[in-house]
Amino acid sequence: MTPLAPQYTRNAAAGAFDRRLLHRARGASVYIGVCAALGLAQTACVIAGAWLTASLVAGAFAGGQDLAALTPRLIGLAAVLAARALLASVQEAAANRAAAGVKSGLRRQALERLMRLPSGTRHTGETAQLLVRGIDALDAYFARYLPQLVLAALVPAGVLAVMFLAHPPAALVVALTLPLIPLFGVLIGRYTKARAERQWASTSALAHHFADLVAGLPTLKAFGRAGRQAGAIQVTTGEYRRRSMALLRVAFCSALVLELAASLSVAVVAVTVGVQLVEGGLAGQAGLQTALLVLILAPEAYLPLRGVGTHYHASAEGLAAAERVFAILAEPVEPGGDAAPHAGPAALPAAPHLPPPLRRAPTIMFRRTVFGYPGRDPLPEISLTVPAAQTTVLTARSGAGKSTLLAALLGFRRPVTGSIAFDGTDLSGLDPAAVRRSISWLPQRPVLIDGTVADNVRLAVPEDAPDAAVAKAIAAAHAPDARRRVAANGAGLSAGEAARVGLARALLRADLLDTPVLLLDEPTAHLDADTERAVLESLAPYREQRTVLIASHREAVRAIADREVAW
């Protein structure tokens, strides 16, 4: 619900000049410099425009000059005002260029970090939206708000300086009222902060509640409960409106102070110089020119401050996205996450006492391991031996933690209690990179990237795989043609085809790295019986001399097992 966003009640100027955002930004300091230069030029335009207007009016009215005599100054005024328009446009273009670089840098940092954070705690679709659309929303912050902040610092200072030179009493009026605006902003912001945050929370709760009801409408309708919800919605939103309005009555006061300060001080300046003129304190053409100059300049001192509020409001979405990105950047990386062999200089030194990778097919032992997820009951305790160089099929019921076991072997899940050992060596004592290099893993839903089937199969190994090896793996997995186009969202492949691309990837890895361990999570899901049989047949050579662990319920898969385990 947009009419009430917390930014109304926050003080726009304080703290919004986000150091982290500028600190992270490539080329941001250059951009701030550009903003300052353009801001100075705009300040000069404001002052020159006011001076030229005042002198033109005074020249014609008090000095009795005609158009011919005043033409140069009139052309000058047109030029200054046009330059102001041009500067505004240049400012925005420069800002958008700079913002493109900053956003790109932020996106890279966030994605690099995310690749090293534990999975499963966040919604991948939402996070992808945050990284693309959310970060793009920072445009308003960089292109409008930051330059406005610079203007809000430069213009009042420049205007005040000129007014002091021209007419100190009028300048004093502005100098005294100007600080009232941020002062009241802070006071009202503090006063309403807690309430505004509560209200903001209830705003999103209300939207979420409505979305939840819409999603469940077919269910409500099936039980004849949908019609009655309208009344409940009315009560909730009515209550929400009353609370929102109570808050807004206070929150809008900061805008009221701004408007009153700006317009009353113009009135006071007008009356002050007017009275002085009547009393002969400012005589002649020069006197009128000075009076008009301060009258035109006074409102200009307040104008950028009003813009700050508006533009802060517009950049709230981008700032909220940035806030979430910073939260991601601050999260601790996954244990062993730094040790990925290609993570660059951040890679940990490999554990020295064990030669990576594992050489022969190992025996894998789970000793009384228990896995838990936050907010859920722990899975049942498991003790299990996977014999070396044999094929073991896990047939435990759904939800019993088969996929968790496989992920644990790769170091992505840690048991809460109990241990996992390869050939008697505890997994925690092994270098995770070396362990991962010894394993070929087919997850339940293999990843797909934009490209061809071959590009996708090549994600098996960091090195560039030879064409022949890729072709062999594709044939063995009965995957689609190597040249077929695949989109990252899976368009172009059926679920069964996608699974076989994943299988081809696992087989290619097994071939090229000669991994002694093969982990297959539901390798034949989505396949019809004939394809399933063909895939299992071509799997046979890959099972030789390897410790193979397969999670599956399928009858045909159980038939190839040396050992079957259920719990």
Binding site: T53, R97, A99, T237, L264, A291, A407
Partner: protein
Amino acid sequence: MTTWRNPIALRLGLGAVLGALAQLSALGLLAVSAYLVSRAWEQPPILYLMVAITSVRALGIGRGVLRYAERLVSHDAAFRGLERLRIAVWRKLVRLAPAGVPVWRSGDLQARLVDDVDGTGDRWLRGTLPLTAAVITAATAVAVQAAILPAAGAVLAAALLAAALAGPALASWSSRYALRATAAERGALTENVRACLHGREELVAAGTDRVALERALDGDERLRRAHARIAWTAGLGQAAGLLAMAAAVTGALWTGIPAVAAGTLDGVLLACLALIPLAAFEPVLALPAAAQHTAAAKESGRRLLEITRAAEPRPDPAEPLRFGPDPLGGPHLAAAGQSAPGIEIKRLSATWPGADRPAVRDFDLTLQPGERVAVMGPSGSGKSTLAAVLMGFLPYEGSLRLGGAELAELAGDDVRRTVGLCSQDAHVFDTTLAENLRLARVGAGDDELVRALRWAGLRDWFDGLVHASPDRTAAAALPTRLGEHGRAVSGGERGRIALARCLLADREVLVLDEPDAHLDAATAERVLRTAAAALEGKTAVFITHRPLPDGVVHRTVHLEPPVPAPRDAPLSALLDLAPRG
């Protein structure tokens, strides 16, 4: 929207008037100040200036106060309008759900629907109101300027018109241009980032996370270049407005100075002539932003209109047959012995809205009262369509008699008082377990809820909840929150919660759509057997794609996908089938 009825329209009108008055105060302040200073320079007796001095002060206060009042009035009106719109949309959705709108096929669309309602409320506040204030202020400024000097009035009118037209047009062109230039890159980048995050563990395990990351970031580099390339267009709307203002100020002096020299204009008014354009342009310079809000809101409104104008898929008959638990009204609901109604389906065909061919064609099936039948068929054979027809969600051709009454002649709500649906995609609401169950039967006691959970095969799961609850009682476990902000529920658990809900609702006829989806064979068998026992005596249709364990149903019928008539296929589809070299 037709939902903006009078009280809200009045409030909005008041808001518009207050907004315009606030802007006019600003205009008046500047004009009267300019007059005051010029007249004072002529040093008349100060009494001559008192009116000007007083009105300058009044206008100074008026502007701030009027603006404050305008904000309160218009926000209140927007909230009220939003409230009304939400309820109107909800009422319409209730009649459309679930066959009439594709909203329930994607979570994305649900979120958009909610945003669209909010976005439409924005239209007045940030679109129409600023526009109204700008038009009134600009018109007044032109009138005043023309009264002082007709030529200056004409110049101001032309400049304001140019700014009001060119500013928003350029601004909306540049944002559309930016969107077009970046939309494809953004979409591809989003998908690639999502793929990287989703496949993170696989990529890290393979050591190829860097490879995939760099490939995704190639797209980011392309997006950066696209943004940089179009950066120059962003400020055009703003620049156009400022240029027009420059022309208006210069033009006012260019016409005013010769008029003063010629004596056709009193010099006292020259300053007014120069300053009025500044105040007149202030609301006009805000128009590009207002236009963009309006455009976005229009888009939201258009999508909502699609929903509010959508045809009801199965309107209630004009004079529905009375039917239901009421024994007096029901034609042949059940004999006094409380046995459930039977179902008689003859040559039934049904088509989803927007589809060009029926999903079910010429289907026959008869269920005796109290009989449980499995309808088995591959995906695409129209099993879920049959469920939608039985629930009164979808119209049909042919005949479907429920306890002797033709289903089409019954009101939808009456049908659903007799027929219950246990659907594979039933929603688990973001509320407590107890509330999720009680929506099936208001006022059901705790013991009944627990019994329903046990019948649905959730005994172990619920015992886990009891174990984790503060004082380890069922009463303490029932208020456990489920759904998005509560405890995560797996696909299998969700299906069984739906089953528990259906058993609690205790309908005479039950349609179970894939009740064993997401369950392993052993659990599925256990759940189906207990469900069958709980349904003893009720008429039930089990929709399934695999054979059910013995004893769950009395018999099984097969549903085949309707054969598409080849002549229906468009030419392009036929060409697609042709073998390629």
